[in-house]
Symmetry: C2
Subunit: 336 residues, 2 copies
DNA sequence: CAAATGTGGTTAAGCGCTTTCTCTAATATC
DNA sequence: GATATTAGAGAAAGCGCTTAACCACATTTG
């Protein structure tokens, strides 16, 4: 049924080694036999089995992509770029969603290895290093996107989160806001941590009081954002501005504001982070910190592929600059 | 370096056949040897190579998912569900974006086969049937999601697009709208076609005039929607309501309306389709036709897996009911 | 013109696993 | 107690491919 290299060899009157050589363009083959073999391959609709060739030490030309959730616009945009660049370089991508569950992540890590992927791109918050370390030790190609593990020498492509946080907070401060809240995911995630550190530093630099009540750690979805915003906006310490560390959270803020009858940006300024499609859809359009997602997606794949193809590849961190995109969700503070 | 079945066999003092048996839970193994082998596997961190086992006729436990674009919320939500259900059943998913380019699609189809995936889920508008037909002929497991190819006996999971179009248009008619426009993607795509047919039928049933000027075929993105809506809203035949066949197009309509200073729903009612996350984010929240995405995702995978695992599986079409979700983007027609 | 060199190809081993066939030893049967 | 069963395990072939080692022949070279 299935046509194999033997069928081709037989029909072309050569050995399978010869066929293999024309497939891979290796060794010396006379123009005549090459033609003949190619011809037979064509008529037989022959397609080399990647599984078989992988078994003999060749690449599977497949990479794994581990992210929290493709349904989250930020990651779906990343996934798209990764796939695009992967295709350009001849790699397919195996998509894995973990919801940031460490067990799921660990499971995928070892599963992907079992499946002999050539490398893995990780966009989740890695908490459990055991499997990861093991892979790293045996020099398995791994690259991180949009997160970092500072204590590891590892390939990383991410935005400068500190700078992003700095830009966002500074923007609000420059608009005269004094009570600025920040909503983030999990401080164990480096991206969140850096944004938070920048937030604190800007407050300090501007002589603004740091108030713990204005810091909310939540999760990454809109519902989480809404819940957190509701809490924030109902409190006696109601902020005049919120820096939401993800656009999704910012959307939650919009929903909360609407429910409470607050107008954005008149009653409340909000800055997001990521500049996903959400930022442009929402009304008013969201001021946010843009991550160069396209560039990031392209670069992780490039980095990973170098790790795959080059014998001695030096790990590196690629830290890209964020950009403040001012739209209509932020406005001069008028209160008091 | 890499630990193989031989290492395990040697250390456990048994043959590789025995090890294979305990891995796969086949054949008769004494409790004692099983224990021993499992123990050795554990201490050696042994992980069977799926590539090698695939070569001997076992499954790769990988399925392909071909969609236009994961960055499109509808498909990212589908992708997520497919992956979830796949994981439950022990399958990984290889993500392929085609942008509805037939060549890319064809390329993926044969690439996926080369990679020995166990089956393929297709969510794109298939135009070129040659490769598809070939796969079908050799009984390669394939399932369609959110689209159909009526002339083929094939596994399909989709929403009842006609009913969806019917509900959407009827809703607008019942609100007293007479000039109802429709924006769709490509009439060669069955989903679009059925929605359009329903639109026409509803008009007819209600004695409303069908006006070609109010039908716009565009593409699937927001920009396309905006462009189309601008055209529609600037024309002398300005409609009082628009049925956008995808939420993304509807968002484009919002943007166009905003640009023209038109208020939704007061100046213009709009109904979307899909009930993606976009519908709830947008302001005012979008009245739309909900597709049971979760259910669809689950069911395609189930169907596909049946095709993979059951020798004689009868192809079937699973057609799920859509639901009209009334939010605030539609309103009684007051004009004239 | 014998030896060296180059060209085009074949043979065969091996990748890590599954599975059929076979064999041995223990247990059951009469 | 001899024979029939059965449980447990091993030997070996084979999956489709790559590649190192090898070989036959033609062509150069001094």
């Amino acid at each position: 049924m299935k046509v194999t290299i033997y069928d081709v060899a037989k029909k072309a009157g050569v050995s399978i080694a010869t066929v293999s050589r024309v497939i891979n363009n290796t060794g010396r083959i006379s123009e005549k036999t090459r033609k003949k073999v190619l011809e037979v391959m064509e008529t037989l609709h022959y397609q080399p089995s990647i599984v078989a060739s992988a078994l003999t030490g060749k690449r599977t030309r497949t990479i794994g992509l581990i992210i929290p959730d493709v349904a989250n616009p930020f990651f779906s945009e990343i996934a798209r770029k990764v796939e695009d660049r992967g295709r350009e370089l001849g790699f397919n991508v195996l998509m894995c969603n973990t919801d940031n569950n460490p067990d799921t992540e660990e499971m995928y890590l070892s599963l992907l290895k079992q499946k002999s992927v050539d490398g893995i791109i990780i966009g989740t918050t890695t908490k459990n290093y055991t499997v990861l370390n093991e892979l790293l030790r045996e020099n398995f190609p791994i690259a991180l996107i949009a997160q970092d593990i500072p204590e590891l020498a590892i390939d990383v492509v991410r935005v400068d989160d500190f700078l992003g946080g700095y830009l966002a907070t500074s923007h609000l401060v420059s608009l005269g806001h004094k009570k600025i809240a920040i909503m983030l995911g999990n401080l164990s995630r480096t991206s969140d941590k850096y944004r938070f550190q920048a937030y604190r530093q800007v407050l300090e630099e501007n002589g603004l009081e740091y108030n713990e009540k204005l810091v909310i750690c939540t999760d990454y979805s809109m519902e989480d954002g809404k819940r957190a915003a509701l809490e924030l906006l109902k409190s006696s310490q109601r902020p005049t501005a919120i820096f939401a560390c993800f656009d999704a959270l910012a959307v939650g803020v919009y929903q909360a504001a609407k429910e409470l009858g607050l107008n954005i940006p008149n009653d409340l300024s909000v800055v997001g982070f990521d500049n996903t499609i959400l930022a442009t859809i929402v009304d008013p359009p969201l001021t946010t910190i843009a991550q160069p997602i396209d560039e990031m997606g392209r670069q992780v794949v490039d980095l990973l592929v170098r790790g795959i193809e080059e014998e001695k590849h030096t790990k590196q961190r690629v830290i890209l600059p964020p950009e403040l995109i001012i739209r209509n969700s932020t406005k001069e503070n008028v209160s008091k």
